[in-house]
Symmetry: C2
Subunit: 493 residues, 2 copies
């Protein structure tokens, strides 16, 4: 590979080139040879390395030719560093010209000496050092015309309107470029963090991770909103949730279970918060005597997630705030629990007309969130004891008032991110409730039969991962927290 | 709840009952009241608790009435304890009769005094203690007729043929009961362990967890074997792997990624190792100069998984071995890497006729596994440098021999559990290879376009979770390691 300049796309027929071995386009890295060259990561280039000669791989973020010099910014993930190439004994005019012509976003290997920057470089993450380049090789060439500019995609949405901004569809059409912005780099690292905190907190409490099927024989929650799959000579459906299966794991004596996986909703809802496929973080647990044992386990889970994000992802959150400004997130420990009927009272006191058993509209949900925030100073709360009529058939009715149920939603910044309940663990009552909801009993026979052989009381909930993150970060659109979002109008890339 | 006996289904019209408040069937636990009663877990009842009176919840595993006494075994997950109820001042004949009539698998709350067993109780996990019962309440009643008996389902498969055994279909039809056997309890805990070890090992190495869509616009790996989904007014498909998306995450500068999720194969293969839906553990990473950086990262990942299972799940593995005997698992650290051409030589030396570029049949794979085990004493190895013709279009050709490729499979006990490769990271070569494989370029345009804007060399692989566990434990059928398996003939429960 040291002979790579032989393969380079240098200007042919030019004058003799003293730097002929110092630049060029490498042949495709096809693992022809092993190379034990140590590559230093951009983020690790600090003053401690001053005067050292190092190899670095990164993307050409920007470049600016200026006579006999070329100023580059090299980027790797969050980190950027300034690099300078100047004509000298070993660096030819041809080399400077070649480097100045490398398309932005190409991946390059450079050798350079780390030097202290004469003044802080505000435009780079590495502010106190720069690289004096000696060699520059292109590892992977980007096309000259990019469908979007990273610098435009990084710009705060509310900033100077005279500057170019990138709209959502362009971002999604060219997702692999949009994912390279600092905000995207941060969002998906935080998303991984939410999953890790979810699992670590529950593992600690003795939960077992399970995997539930996505292909199911009948709509699991009744009704429409379900995708149909051609399954050999018959039809099947995509699971709207792991509900029935996580409950069956409880019947199977796993006690406390969680599962993370795709769930599917065939709703033709083109809103900021609906996806047709999203990641469900689902929990189910047996309890001893009261479903509040479950409610407060989940409440504490959120507290642990919020604490963990603050502790482990402060710099990622700050990075995102720069592009998408948002109020800091407030929460109470232990979390606030309100009852549905009290929420109705609060709303009525503030001019909303609604019946005791009406479901909350999205508008009222958000308004309630504002009222709760003003009164209790929390962006997260739990709303307990929903009217029975607005909940799924498997929800346990409230023993003290048949109009209500042992069910709850949880909210971040006034939008629902979890729905849960005590479940009915007795086949007879479950059958009655399914009939009441006009569900085809034959289709859910194996589910109902599961409760015929002894089942502990249990409850749980399902969390929408993309919503949690969108609302926690105040991003305003769930497509920003789904790497490759699916909605009624989008199934590509 | 203390008044539960009032609701009990005791024998009406019987003589006066001194124990009327000590037994019965509880009303449905509907969270009417909070109850701070402490329940001791069966596995925690040891000699240290001798003479203490405790409450315990568990399933009625077996019961045997004997005159004025009744011997019960109470089970919770892996743990069982013997309990004795005997007619006395506070325990009536009616109570003994009631308890003796509780159907097996019902969930009961009992109060009892812990006493030392006169001789070790070999049939229970708690061998040195038993419970002298004072109160017995039924929390959830099982039906009298169970579709299978737990004791039959627990029996070693090779054991006494005169005893009842439970066949696979009966187990799967009644999965919630089959899941209660010690083997099932252990299998799914180990499966959770494999996922945890996978993630922890990769998190440690700087990987980022991502989530990729299951609904995709075109068959991702070309050809048939793909399930079709009705997607609003158009059609879509279920992803055969997260391949294209994890590579796009690499294009998006995430560097090292993994994802755990459902993958779908519409193959009409009714074998011991094929499922139509399984859990894929997928890895993709950028490397510097040679794909062996990826190969050995994955090899070490398996070593960490094997070590972790030995350390953390020794007792679960022992539990499973009792029902499903199997040779102990052997592996090398670092793992063995063989080249495909050398494997062909080994097979030919042992009488197999095959061409240099023939794919391995399942039979030859297994035979090779035996030969490798005999020679190298390992049940896990990596087979590198497959013929190009048997690999997917996105596989990087070997730069030194166009008939081979930079690709590998990994094996446990002679069966494939991972397939992987260096990927082509250049749009032009990728297009050529896709054309060669007669793939519709229009359908994978967004994938190929991803490589037009600079992409580092990268590679990865996909692991079938259920296969890893089936083969590691020597269980012989992948349906034993899928909680709710899907195959061409089964989509229920």
């Amino acid at each position: 590979m040291a002979t790579a300049a032989g393969d380079s796309k240098q200007n042919p027929g030019s004058e003799e080139d003293c730097a002929v071995n110092n630049y060029g386009t490498l042949p495709l890295i096809q693992s022809k040879e092993k190379n034990d060259r140590h590559l230093v990561s951009v983020r690790d280039i600090t003053e401690a390395l001053a005067k050292q000669i190092i190899w670095v791989r990164g993307r050409l973020h920007t470049s600016r030719g200026k006579g006999k010099q070329c100023f580059l910014v090299i980027r790797h993930q969050f980190a950027t560093i300034q690099a300078i190439l100047a004509v000298s004994e070993n660096i030819s005019k041809q080399m400077v010209k070649f480097v100045a012509s490398i398309p932005k976003e190409s991946i390059i290997d450079v050798e350079g000496e780390v030097s202290l920057a004469p003044s802080p470089i505000e435009s780079c993450s590495q502010k106190t050092v720069e690289l004096q380049l000696k060699k520059v090789f292109v590892v992977s060439t980007a096309e000259q015309r990019l469908p979007l500019q990273i610098e435009d995609a990084m710009r705060p949405e509310e900033s100077d309107e005279s500057m170019a901004h990138v709209n959502q569809d362009t971002r999604l059409e060219n997702r692999v470029i949009d994912l390279r912005t600092p905000s995207s780099q941060a969002i998906y690292r935080i998303e991984a963090g939410v999953c890790k905190l979810f699992r670590d907190t529950l593992d600690e409490k003795g939960f077992v991770e399970i995997h539930t099927p996505k292909i199911i024989p009948a709509p699991s929650e009744g009704g429409a909103n379900v995708f149909q799959v051609t399954y050999f000579k018959t039809n099947a459906y995509l699971a709207q949730s792991p509900q029935l299966y996580k409950q069956m794991a409880i019947c199977g004596d796993f006690g406390k279970v969680y599962t993370i996986g795709a769930v599917f909703r065939a709703e033709d809802s083109n809103t900021h918060r609906h996806l047709t496929e999203f990641v469900g973080l689902d929990i189910e647990m047996a309890f001893n005597y009261h479903y509040h044992e479950v409610l407060f386990t989940i409440g504490d889970l959120f507290t642990q997630i919020f604490k963990g994000l603050e502790q482990r992802f402060a710099s990622e959150i700050e990075t995102i705030r720069k592009q998408f400004p948002c109020e800091p997130f407030e929460y109470l420990d232990p979390p606030l629990r309100l009852e549905y009927k009290d929420a109705v009272v609060i709303l009525r006191e503030n001019g909303i007309e609604m019946g005791d058993e009406d479901d909350l509209t999205t508008t009222n949900e958000k308004f309630l969130g504002k009222l709760v925030k003003a009164k209790y100073h929390t962006d997260f709360y739990m709303l307990d004891k929903y009217p029975l009529s607005v909940r799924p058939f498997y929800t346990m009715p409230d023993p003290d008032n048949p109009k209500y149920s042992n069910s709850y939603d949880m909210f971040i910044r006034g939008e629902e991110i979890l729905s849960g309940a005590q479940r009915i663990h007795e086949a007879q009552l479950l059958t009655e409730r399914a009939k009441h909801h006009k569900i085809n009993l034959e289709q859910i026979k194996s589910y109902i039969d599961s409760f015929r052989y002894g089942c502990p009381p249990h409850g749980g909930g399902g969390i929408g991962l993309e919503r949690v993150l969108m609302l926690y970060l105040g991003l305003g659109n769930v497509r920003k927290t789904s790497m490759f979002p699916r909605d009624p109008k989008r199934i590509t890339p």
